[in-house]
């Protein structure tokens, strides 16, 4: 008998199902990730990528299955600030009257007192995080005046300031400039070395090959999951994208 030590897994999602008012968005999905692993989440629009993220952040309730984070319940993971979510650019109101500093400070809210008064350590964490994403010149810039890439970096800084060990990133590379793309990929390597676990959704197949140790192909449920080199095959991708050939998805070259 082999006993599984759940502590070994950062994320352990077992047979999770999510439905919205009877409409199934995701069923029987499994995912196990260890510290230091980067996993790509690939699927069509409406395949359940965002739903998967919502389930892992606790933003929607799962109707079946189990989610354990570091061997504990999602609830205690939330309390411990274990999970950070970096939203898709379309997922936030860029006209909201708030500046870079205040957004990044929101990463600290969970560990502050009820009035959310920043302590010395919070201020330092925010400073450091903003420095790491190279936005020190934009501390008091309203997010509405930032470029898409700068805004993406702001939310990444919020996740860094939160000191989460799991990062969920919804389309981190969509609509960003080259400089941001380079900075994000450098950060990924640092995160990996720090033992953080990363789950990112992407449309770009090249990014999957470049960063992801593991890949999770989904279409309402898991189509394939495993090491990128083994699982990320043209056949599996074709199945995931409902019969569209990978030639079309990759472009003529690959």
């Amino acid at each position: 008998m082999e006993s599984i030590n759940y502590q070994n897994f950062r994320i352990d999602a077992e047979n999770i199902c999510v439905d919205y008012n009877g409409k199934v968005a995701l069923y029987d999905a499994n995912l196990r990730l260890k510290p230091g692993q980067i996993c790509g989440l690939v699927g069509m629009n409406g395949a359940g990528k965002t739903t998967f993220f919502n389930a892992l952040t606790g933003f929607v309730n799962i109707s079946k299955g189990k989610i354990r984070i570091n061997g504990e319940s999602l609830r205690s993971a939330q309390k411990d600030q274990t999970i950070a979510y970096v939203p898709q650019s379309e997922g936030i109101d860029s006209q909201f009257p708030i500046n870079v500093w205040d957004v990044v400070m929101m990463g600290r809210y969970g560990s502050m007192n009820i009035f959310r008064c920043p302590r010395e350590s919070d201020v330092q964490a925010v400073k450091d995080a903003i420095e790491r994403v190279d936005l020190t010149d934009h501390l008091s810039t309203p997010i509405g005046n930032l470029s898409g890439g700068q805004r993406k970096r702001t939310f990444l800084a919020r996740a860094i300031a939160q000191r989460a060990s799991i990062l969920l990133l919804d389309e981190p590379f969509s609509g960003v400039d080259i400089r941001t793309e380079k900075l994000i990929s450098e950060l990924f390597i640092q995160f990996k070395n720090e033992g953080k676990t990363i789950l990112l959704s992407t449309h770009d197949m090249i990014h999957v090959r470049e960063f992801c140790d593991l890949v999770l192909l989904i279409n309402k449920t898991v189509v394939a999951y495993g090491e990128t080199s083994e699982v990320f095959t043209p056949e599996n991708i074709t199945t995931t994208f409902g019969g569209i050939s990978p030639d079309f998805l990759f472009g003529p070259e690959s």
């Binding site: 009257p97 809210y109 009035f115």
Partner: protein, 291 residues
């Protein structure tokens, strides 16, 4: 004759202050405006204008029943305000009807119920003052209730100021870091119902939604900082109330309508002349002028 009396600005302002009811009206309306203005930043950013309209209309039967039973009117209003929101949520979830349609049909239903009740319960309820407000004829018990509710809302909003901002901005992040989003949602709804209750005394049920959205919308055009937005919103709400009451006094106009019109004019002013977001983009104009 009246026109002669405000040839001097001084008497224009001080003459009404000699009347006790005017002093009370100015004070109470400013308080109510400040509360509604405070909440207004959250509602406009959250996109709850229609929700504000719904809640404020839905409190009507609650006010009528409470008056008839001799209970504090705020209690009845609160129950029906929150109840309407619960009903909207329930119908939306259990049917295929779109949300704005559900909101529209629920609040008009409640409002109609209120009007029918007024005609049936022949008591000393003054329909006109419920619908259009009566800041000049506010009773002592209403004054006490208003002060109590206003303080309650201001304290709640002050404590949860940052959490509510986060809730409006990015509820998913709030949830992820273990902040109780469900609680914040109902906290904001509760404050909305309470603010509608105090607001309706100033401008009446029909126009109270203006108190809840116009100051926030004005402030949104004038700043990129949330804290400044709240301050501007509160100030513009108070100033509109004062202007509205003075104008209604001197020109013998409906008070509630005057207050809301003053708010609308301030909004239009911001809409045209806001430095960055106004139609005329004055900031760019002056920057170009200097350069």
């Amino acid at each position: 004759m009246e026109l002669c009396s405000f040839l001097t600005l001084d008497s224009f302002i001080t003459d009404p202050l000699t009347h006790g009811f005017m002093r009370k009206a100015l004070l109470m309306s400013s308080l109510v405006a400040a509360v509604c203005g405070f909440l207004s930043s959250y509602l406009t950013l959250k996109g709850w204008a229609l929700m504000g309209d719904a809640v404020s209309h839905s409190v009507m039967p609650g006010v009528v029943v409470a008056y008839a039973l001799g209970l504090p009117f705020s209690l009845g209003a609160f129950i029906f305000g929150v109840g309407s929101v619960a009903l909207i949520g329930f119908i939306k979830q259990k049917s295929r009807v779109k949300e704005d349609t559900v909101i529209g049909l629920v609040f008009t239903g409640f409002f109609a119920l209120g009007i029918v009740l007024v005609s049936k319960i022949k008591s000393n309820i003054d329909l006109h003052s419920i619908l259009f407000g009566s800041p000049l004829g506010i009773s002592l018990s209403d004054v006490k209730q208003t002060i109590f509710i206003s303080l309650l809302v201001v304290i709640l909003l002050s404590i949860y100021r940052k959490d509510l901002m986060l809730y409006c901005f990015d509820p998913r992040h709030a949830k992820t870091v273990g902040i109780n989003v469900f609680f914040l949602h109902y906290l904001l709804l509760t404050c909305l119902s309470l603010a509608a209750v105090v607001g309706l005394q100033s401008v009446g049920i029909i126009l109270v939604v203006a108190m809840l959205i116009t100051p926030g919308a004005t402030a949104y055009l004038l700043t990129d900082k949330f804290d400044n937005m709240t301050i501007i919103s509160v100030l513009s709400a108070i100033i509109s109330s004062l202007i509205g009451i003075y104008i209604s006094f001197w020109f013998d106009l409906e008070t509630g309508g005057s207050i809301v019109l003053a708010q609308t004019f301030i909004f239009l002013f911001a809409f045209l002349f806001a430095p960055r977001y106004g139609i005329f983009k004055l900031k760019k104009f002056f920057a170009g002028y200097k350069g």
